[in-house]
């Protein structure tokens, strides 16, 4: 049992030490640490990558079509080779990182928000509304996502934002169910009953008491889903229902390059590696998060001298 361990510590210092704790816990799990570092790197590339590239890396150059990798003749930008329009693959990967992260990130975020919202209602209100919401989730779950992709593609247009919509919509039930299950458990906890006995409003109960306690599980799920969504996006690209040029994602690059696997493997190999590494990192980080957020497992990562 943790007794009052650091008496007399100020607010700011407490916050600082919490950050330090998190870092230390991350450091203790080397896999998670490397994953987090890699994800940060990818995010950095996504934000700043395109601007540090030399001019012309993204313009096509038909003479350098399918230039092989590890050939420094054309400069370091072509270290990973060139694509079928002679554009540097490295540069394309950097631009692709931006779209990929943006799409996967916003799809996860939107699904998380919508799923959580309805999950909260379904779990908290229960009853008929809860049943209806669950029923709807079932319908969404069994609605073929490819058909949905096509509908969106047709009715709207193949913009990045609409691909996000497709990916988000089909993943909403996952969050909805998880959130509902969490709420059903949390709302029976005594502190919620205590708040109710105090006369707390529904909004207060839901947003101050239930939601914050359901969030850790949802965040872990979201991290896992990030990897899954990235892969779904590439599947959509494969079927021609995903992002369309001039936008580019890693999934689209893998898909476009697949025809060259026998002749210019690097076209789909590097983006494939990028997807896999990012997905693995997200998964490892999610595992770490799960450990950190589980009081029964957390000790594995906690720092010396605390018990």
């Amino acid at each position: 049992m943790t007794d009052v361990a650091h008496a007399g510590m100020g607010d700011a210092r407490a916050a600082l030490s919490r950050t330090a704790d998190v870092f230390l816990m991350l450091w203790r799990d080397k896999f998670a640490f490397v994953s987090a570092a890699f994800l940060l790197f990818v995010i950095y590339v996504a934000i700043f990558g395109p601007s540090i590239l030399p001019d012309g890396a993204l313009t096509m150059n038909l003479r350098a079509r399918n230039a092989p990798p590890f050939d420094l003749e054309r400069g370091w930008v072509y270290i990973l080779g060139a694509d079928n329009l002679g554009r540097s693959l490295l540069a394309r990967l950097a631009v692709g990182a931006r779209y990929t992260l943006l799409i996967a990130g916003s799809a996860v975020l939107i699904a998380l928000v919508i799923g959580t919202f309805f999950g909260l209602i379904a779990g908290y209100r229960g009853g008929r509304i809860g049943t209806i919401i669950l029923q709807l989730a079932d319908i969404v779950m069994s609605f073929p996502s490819l058909l949905l992709a096509l509908i969106v593609l047709f009715v709207l247009s193949p913009q990045v934002s609409n691909v996000v919509l497709v990916l988000a919509f089909s993943r909403v039930p996952v969050y909805l169910r998880t959130c509902r299950a969490e709420v059903l458990e949390i709302r029976e906890r005594q502190f919620v009953v205590a708040a109710k006995a105090l006369g707390a409003s529904h909004a207060r109960m839901v947003f101050l008491h239930i939601l914050p306690n359901a969030l850790p599980t949802l965040m872990t799920l979201a991290t896992l889903e990030f990897a899954a969504v990235m892969l779904s996006e590439s599947s959509l690209s494969f079927l021609g229902l995903g992002v369309q040029a001039p936008a580019v994602t890693w999934g689209l690059m893998v898909s476009d390059g697949r025809g060259y696997l026998a002749t210019a493997w690097w076209l789909s190999f590097w983006p494939g590696v990028a997807i896999s590494l990012t997905a693995i990192s997200a998964n490892l980080l999610a595992n770490w998060l799960r450990t950190v957020l589980d009081p029964g497992q957390r000790w594995r990562l906690e720092k010396r001298g605390e018990s």
Binding site: T2, V4, A14, A194, A195, L208, E302, R304
Partner: protein, 547 residues
């Protein structure tokens, strides 16, 4: 010195978790003889279960590490035995039963299977084992053993499950039975039955029993010898009577001092105060439904059946009942969490079951609650300051926001905590401290009545005593009244002016605490009081005769 049946000497165990070392027990020694019961008495975190786990080979290594010591059984140090030999001893010569009967029995196998398995694991032929299992179920006092053989753990009550676990444990007629808090989760009357059963079995086959418990009453009921543990060390051991009657170690003294039910009844004089809370004919029926479509079956569960009670200013009303007695339903009805089927709740003569939300909220402010489990009743994601000030956030006219920090500090001091604690989170506190935070929150709205729903039941005795003291202090300072709900008789005996006893949703007995305890009218009350361990009864009567 003759050889003991089981002897632990100089045992030290520590646990490693990344970079952290916890000394669970340090140089613990004790011995157990045939036909004898040794109680290991200690509060949570004292390490009282660790030596038993070491005997059974249940300490996972790593993260555990046995630093030193020997465990002599049958002339051998069993710590040195290979796994196969240990498995040979476990269940056959030394058996063990656990506290949480629901978790400790495998939910996916029938009880018959699990009892049988204890025998087949030690070479008894299957058919024979099954036959004997039925006999065992009968022997531990469960009716229709043949039919129940094929039932699953969840189909039994808590007491029955403990009997099943005992049946599995004694299947091979072990020399030693280790019982780890076997009755802590059970009602008093059920506890009495289990303890009686253990004694009967001991008398029949002369096994030695190691009883691990936090409950002095239980220890005194069954044990011949006692070892008192604190912070991983045995601080005192010896004959049970001598230790309990003349404790030598300060820790033992403090512990015994804290045990409730030893102080005599409150000299009540406060009944003259205004009538605050009045409950008239309160009932709550649930329709029994089945299936997804919630079709009513026509049957009703009477969770609360025509309950009436009253509470005056400055008074403590104890409500005693076992699980299923309806006391939780009563609390929920008083807090407005459920809607009663019939009856009235009046606060200072005003009905509390009105439709008018605003009026209701104002009324409700006067009644606050402290729950049983302080860990569960505080939102782990809120700081103490936010927890305590939440009532003001909800009832926004009570206190202007600017005054919140000051008032939080005041309240923390009142409940015996430091104002510095406001910025911290619940998990940084011990159980007793958390309950103080919960009390501070209850006080925030300056209520007239506080409902203590098993508020001290989950705490160790010493902490329990501190919290009761705090409640008493606050009552004095603020003229509070308490509705004190408990399954634990001694606490009520110490603290309540009047007591009512509930059974199956009904009030079966009510009156002055002393009258209820001394001259119970209803057979249920009599049974309840008779089920208390004899130590308590003995103590109570002794004190009474002193007066």
């Amino acid at each position: 010195m003759t050889q003991s049946l089981l002897e632990v000497s100089d045992l030290s165990v520590r646990f490693h978790s990344r970079g952290t070392i916890v000394d669970a027990v340090k140089n613990v020694s004790w011995r157990l003889d045939r036909g004898e019961t040794l109680a290991i008495l200690g509060e949570s975190g004292s390490g009282k279960s660790v030596s038993a786990a070491a005997v059974m080979g249940l300490i996972d290594i790593p993260p555990g590490e046995i630093v030193s010591g020997r465990i002599i059984f049958g002339g051998e140090n069993i710590l040195n035995l290979p796994l196969a030999a240990r498995e040979e001893i476990n269940g056959k010569r030394i058996a063990m039963i656990f506290q949480d009967t629901l978790a400790a029995l495998n939910p996916v196998y029938t009880v018959g299977h699990q009892i049988t398995e204890s025998m087949t694991a030690h070479g008894v032929e299957r058919g024979e084992a099954k036959r004997r299992a039925v006999g065992l179920i009968n022997r531990v006092g469960i009716a229709e053993p043949e039919r129940r053989f094929n039932d699953y753990p969840h189909q039994f009550s808590g007491g029955q499950r403990q009997r099943i676990m005992i049946a599995a444990a004694i299947a091979m007629e072990p020399d030693v039975l280790i019982a780890d808090e076997p009755t802590s989760a059970l009602d008093v009357t059920v506890q009495a039955g289990i303890l009686k059963l253990l004694k009967k079995l001991q008398a029949e086959n002369g096994m030695g029993i190691l009883m691990i418990t936090h409950d002095i009453g239980v220890a005194s009921e069954v044990a011949d010898k006692v070892a008192v543990m604190s912070q991983g060390e045995v601080v005192e051991q010896g004959d049970i009577r001598s230790v309990l009657d003349a404790p030598r170690h300060p820790y033992t003294q403090r512990l015994l001092e804290a045990v409730p039910g030893r102080r005599g009844y409150l000299q009540t004089g406060a009944t003259a105060g205004d009538l605050l809370l009045e409950v008239k004919g309160l009932s709550k029926f649930y329709d029994l439904t089945s299936g997804l479509l919630k079709t009513a079956t026509g049957r009703k569960i009477r969770a609360l059946d025509d309950v009436s009670l009253s509470l005056s200013k400055g008074e403590v009303l104890g409500i005693v009942g076992e699980s299923g007695s309806g006391k939780s339903t009563l609390v929920n009805a008083l807090l407005g969490l459920i809607e009663p089927t019939a009856g009235e709740v009046l606060f200072r003569g005003q009905s509390m079951l009105l439709e008018d939300q605003t009026a209701m909220r104002a009324l409700r402010r006067r009644i606050q609650v402290v729950f049983q489990d302080p860990t569960a009743s505080l939102n782990p994601r809120m700081s103490v300051a936010r927890i305590i000030s939440e009532p003001w956030a909800i009832h926004d006219s009570v206190l202007p926001r600017g005054q919140w920090p000051g008032r939080v500090a005041e309240l923390l001091e009142q409940v015996g905590l430091s104002p510095d604690h406001a910025a911290r989170y619940p998990h940084q506190f011990s159980g007793g401290q958390r309950q103080r935070i919960a009390i501070a929150r209850a006080l925030a709205l300056q209520p007239e009545v506080i409902i203590c729903d098993e508020a001290v039941s989950a705490l160790d005795v010493s902490i329990q005593a501190q919290i009761i003291e705090l409640l008493k202090d606050l009552k004095r300072q603020h003229g509070l009244s308490y509705l004190f709900i408990a399954h634990d008789l001694p606490v009520v005996r110490d603290f309540a002016d009047r007591t009512i006893v509930m059974q199956s949703g009904q009030v079966v007995e009510s009156g002055r605490t002393q009258d209820v305890f001394e001259r119970p009218q209803h057979p249920y009350t009599q049974n309840l009081l008779a089920s208390r361990p004899k130590e308590e009864r003995h103590r109570g009567r002794a004190l009474e005769t002193l007066k």
